[in-house]
């Protein structure tokens, strides 16, 4: 199991369940790691590892929901699939509201479980991809000079070059040069792409994940 290989983390205090899930998931070529309690998982988990979390809602010690809450606190991006027993629907709804990927009622149909696990893994991969891109963009943003940053802000604000030159008290030509350099540094091909990039970064900075 390579550290960067997406892994299905199974947390269940029922050892038989852990074993059975492992048996099933491995038959589908998935990588599986099992934990007998939320505490075990929390102490062992490395947020860098991609994958998804399959957790039983009822456990000794921390419950599935409590584990979810901890992970959210820690900013862990793992998609969480919560397995519930009969009659735990209100609990499941709370879990989803709190950001769980999905909840499944036991006994869970294996196909559906696999499908959700794959979806969760895909989501995780996608998220990790997006996060990576954002990280790259931020690094590129940091290479801009102060003047280039000023020009960028005004371009994203939708102002034409002539107006930008007027506001900054520089020549329109100079504005055009800065703009070209910004586009080069940020590796965007046009203004539309540039605006999208900046806005997405800003959203990530302020909005919810």
């Amino acid at each position: 199991m390579r550290p960067d290989e997406p892994t299905v983390f199974v947390v269940d205090d029922d050892e038989a369940m852990c074993e059975a899930l492992t048996w099933l998931l491995e038959s589908q070529g998935l990588s599986v790691a099992t934990y007998n309690s939320a505490e075990d998982f929390l102490s062992a988990y490395d947020p860098a590892r991609p994958g998804c979390l399959v957790v039983d809602v009822r456990m000794r010690g921390l419950s599935g929901l409590e584990l979810q809450a901890r992970l959210v606190e820690q900013g862990c991006p793992l998609p969480i699939i919560i397995l519930t027993g009969h009659g735990d629907v209100p609990m499941a709804v709370r879990a989803v509201k709190a950001g769980a990927f999905d909840f499944l009622e036991k006994p869970v149909d294996d196909q559906r479980l696999l499908e959700r696990i794959r979806a969760a893994l895909a989501l995780d991969a996608e998220r990790r991809q997006a996060a990576l891109a954002r990280q790259l963009a931020l690094m590129r943003l940091q290479t801009l000079t102060a003047r280039e940053q000023q020009v960028l802000d005004l371009v994203v604000a939708g102002k034409p070059s002539k107006l930008i030159a007027f506001e900054l008290g520089i020549a329109e030509k100079t504005v055009e040069v800065h703009r070209q350099r910004v586009m080069q540094k940020l590796e965007v091909r046009g203004v539309v792409e540039l605006v999208h990039l900046v806005l997405s970064l800003e959203r990530r900075d302020h909005g919810p994940t």
Binding site: A16, E19, A20, W23, S27, M59, G61, K106
Partner: protein, 818 residues
């Protein structure tokens, strides 16, 4: 000589005694006028012409007379019957002497003759009257014989004396002098003419004092004689037999005399004298009276049941004893040891009440308390002297009333007329006291027995339970009215073995065996059985018998108490059914509450099975499989299937509405099952359930499901309480242990905040949970109590609460049965 002859002749003619001379050949030579007159001849010549032999009524008598004359020369007091001129006989006392010539030849006889006819008649009458007297005495004696042995002896002596007297032919003077009877002669005017020695002794007067005095005035002082003299007039009319009159002696004593009399008249028929014969009856009458008194008392005390009434009878009887005229009865108070006045007669209540106390410091009193009767002149008791003087008492008698040697009462009697009591009066008092002792003891015993009997009767007849008495041989000998209500049969039908007929056929054998077991030893039988009433009703009864006392012939009397418990049995049965139904309902409801946990518990193995199966399929399809792995997976699947099946079985058993069944069970196993059922819920709630099961805990006899329910209820409550803590710190502990020789205790503890103060968690509908029914604990408690155990809060506080319940350990018999 001539003058002497004249003198002689004048004397011969003048003396009032008949004189004569006769020849041996029977010729009268001479006779004086008195003899002529006596023999009623017209003149001396006629008499002298009569041959002497003709003058004798019986010729043999002349022959005897002559014979004695020839032999003795002088014959004195020869009594014979002479024939008078008119042929009538008279009694004559003759004396004569033989006149002999110089050669000793008999010349003639000289004699005197006295007419003693009157005396002879008197003697005859005396004899006759004595006879009749003797007869009346005999009759009386026979009467008295029944009453008094002492008197009989006395009378026998008297009879002996009288018989001895009768045996003597010559008794007239002896009778007069020695007869114990009074004999007297009273002239028509009442003058006493004669009285014999017995009369002197009795009256205390000498003969000389009495003769010539008026009889009536002498012996009937005051005005008494007037009545008696009138009576005397009646006496004159004829002879009197056995008339009782009391005369007053010189000493002033009244003596009761039984009089018989004969009247004597002169030739004109005029009453000359009354000859009286009196027998002193005083002693006999007194003895009789005392005897009668005792007999009457005895008879009247016999049926007496009231103590006070008895005492009054005794007191009345005592006051009738000669010389006794007042007194009181005192009964010993066992508590204080004092004699207490019960009733009194003829004395002031103050004196009577004080009498026992006044003398309490006297030696005499101590004698009485020690059981000795005392008779004292009033002056002998300094402490009561003044009081006696006020009451006019001359003597006091204190007679203890004993029972079995112990004083239980006392009679204090007094006399105003005497300084001392005669012996027979004392005896009478003591006899009465003796009688009272027996009666008092009997009355008290009867009263006590009656009280006991009455209490038993009231108890028995009004008791709301059946009561029977009986023994091994006779069976039932008593049954109270309630038994009739219980069995629907009359008491008569229950006697002997009759009761067996009312016992339910299914119970009769067991009951007979149980009864038989009680025959050998002092065994208390306590059993329930059914009774069939004639109307078809069946009643449950609870019978409890015990030995009352050792009886003769080695038989124990047993008493049985029979209680109709039909309603109770019905109510118990209904309560049991109700409890079981409620327990079941609660189990179902509990299961509902636990549903999600239970579903999870089921879903878990089912999911595992599914995953194993799909995993296998996928591997087989991919051709990417390893036989060993597959087998391992399949084994796991089987294990999970078994797990699910076992759980379902438990669940089914838990909710099944089966008839409760008591079996010998391991409490640890029951607790284990309960914990398994609540485990999912515990897991979900983050509660850690710690088990501490003692391996050596004894088995119990229980309905497994119900006890499991109790455990589940307690554990779930504990989990609720522990949930007040944050997850990870919620602890519940379950412990089993032997806490006493025959007790198993199960404890369920939590680390919650403790119960709210003053909360009665065992009250139905008490609940601290928003969706709780409030029935769990009450039902748990009723289940435990139905198993003869207790469910209680062992400890509650800030550090948590521990509930505990006990169960009796199974006995050896249970193991055998199990």
């Amino acid at each position: 000589m001539g003058a002497r002859a004249d003198d002689y002749h004048s004397l011969f003619d003048a003396v009032p005694i008949g004189l004569y001379r006769s020849t041996p050949d029977g010729r009268l030579l001479d006779a004086n006028p008195a003899l002529v007159h006596m023999l009623r001849y017209p003149d001396r010549a006629t008499l002298l012409a009569t041959p002497a032999a003709e003058l004798y009524l019986n010729p043999d008598e002349r022959a005897r007379y002559l014979h004695r004359m020839q032999a003795e020369d002088v014959v004195v007091d020869f009594e014979l019957q002479a024939r008078c001129y008119d042929g009538s006989p008279i009694w004559v006392r003759a004396r004569a002497r033989t006149i002999r010539g110089p050669a000793g030849e008999i010349l003639c006889y000289e004699g005197s003759a006295e007419d003693i006819t009157a005396r002879k008649q008197l003697e005859d009458e005396l004899f006759r009257h004595h006879r009749s007297l003797e007869e009346s005495v005999t009759v009386r004696t026979a009467e008295l014989a029944r009453l008094n042995l002492q008197l009989e002896t006395e009378l026998a002596e008297r009879r002996e004396v009288e018989q001895r007297l009768l045996a003597e032919r010559d008794f007239s003077s002896r009778i007069l002098e020695h007869s114990p009877a009074i004999m007297c002669s009273i002239a028509a005017d009442g003058t006493t003419r004669f009285i014999n020695a017995a009369g002197e002794r009795l009256t205390g007067y000498t003969r000389a004092e009495l003769v010539g005095r008026n009889w009536w005035r002498t012996f009937y002082p005051g005005n008494e004689h007037c009545q008696v003299e009138r009576l005397f007039e009646a006496f004159r009319a004829g002879n009197v037999h056995g008339y009782e009159m009391a005369l007053t002696t010189r000493a002033g004593e009244k003596r009761a005399i039984s009089w018989s009399s004969i009247n004597r008249h002169d030739a004109d028929g005029t009453l000359t004298e009354v000859i009286g014969f009196g027998i002193d009856l005083t002693d006999r009458l007194q003895a009789e009276q005392l005897l009668r008194l005792q007999r009457d008392l005895c008879m009247s005390l016999g049926p007496i049941t009231d103590l006070r009434r008895g005492l009054e009878l005794v007191l009345d009887a005592t006051c009738q004893v000669e010389g006794v005229d007042c007194g009181g009865v005192y009964v010993l108070n066992d508590a204080t040891g004092d004699l207490e006045l019960m009733c009194h007669r003829n004395v002031s209540v103050e004196f009577a009440a004080a009498a026992a106390r006044l003398a309490s410091d006297e030696a005499a009193h101590r004698l009485v308390m020690g059981g000795r009767p005392i008779y004292l002149h009033y002056s002998a008791l300094p402490s009561t002297r003044a009081a006696c003087e006020r009451e006019g008492l001359r003597m006091l008698a204190a007679i203890p009333v004993l029972h079995e040697g112990q004083i239980i009462a006392a009679l204090y009697m007094g006399s105003r007329s005497r300084d001392e009591l005669p012996a027979n009066a004392r005896h009478a008092l003591e006899a009465i006291a003796g009688r009272l002792g027996g009666t008092l003891a009997r009355v008290r015993a009867e009263a006590a027995r009656r009280l006991t009997e009455e209490r038993f009767r009231v108890l028995s007849e009004t008791a709301p339970v059946g009561i029977v008495l009986g023994d091994a041989v006779r069976g039932v000998v008593y049954a109270n009215p309630c038994m009739e209500r219980i069995t629907g049969r009359s008491v008569a039908n229950l006697m002997g073995d009759g009761w067996e007929a009312c016992v339910h056929p299914d119970d009769v054998t067991a009951l007979r065996q149980a009864v038989a077991r009680t025959r050998d030893r002092d065994f208390e039988l306590e059993t329930d059985f059914r009774v069939c009433c004639p109307d078809g009703a069946v009643r449950w009864v609870h019978a409890h018998t015990a030995t009352v006392s050792e009886q003769t012939a080695g038989l124990d009397l047993r008493v049985g108490v029979v209680q109709d418990i039909t309603e109770r049995v019905g109510a118990e049965e209904a309560a049991r059914q109700h409890r079981d139904a409620l327990a079941h309902a609660t189990r179902v409801s509990t299961l509902g509450e636990m549903a999600s946990g239970l579903a999870h518990e089921l879903a878990q193995p089912l999911s595992a099975i599914l995953y194993y199966a799909r995993g296998c399929i996928a591997r087989l399809q991919n051709g990417d499989w390893d036989a060993e792995d597959a087998i391992r997976a399949l084994q796991k699947m089987a294990g999970q299937a078994e797990r699910a099946g076992g759980f379902v079985r438990n669940l089914k058993a838990f909710v099944r509405n089966a008839e409760p069944q008591r079996v010998v069970a391991d409490i640890n196993a029951i607790v284990g099952e309960a914990v398994r059922l609540v485990a999912p819920e515990a897991r979900a709630r983050g509660v850690v359930v710690a088990l501490d099961l003692q391996a050596t805990v004894p088995s119990v006899v229980v309905d497994r499901i119900q006890i499991e329910q109790v455990c589940i209820n307690l554990i779930r409550n504990a989990m609720d309480a522990a949930s007040a803590k944050p997850r990870g710190a919620r602890d519940v502990s379950v412990q089993t242990a032997r806490t006493a020789a025959r007790t198993v205790t199960v404890r369920v503890g939590d680390n919650g905040p403790g119960l709210p103060p003053n909360s009665n968690v065992f009250e139905p509908f008490f609940t601290t949970k928003p969706d709780g029914t409030g029935l769990g604990l009450p039902i748990a408690r009723s289940i435990v109590e139905a198993h003869e155990g207790k469910l209680f809060i062992e400890v509650t506080g800030e550090r948590g609460t521990t509930f505990a319940f006990t169960l009796p350990a199974a006995g050896e018999a249970d193991h055998e049965a199990g």
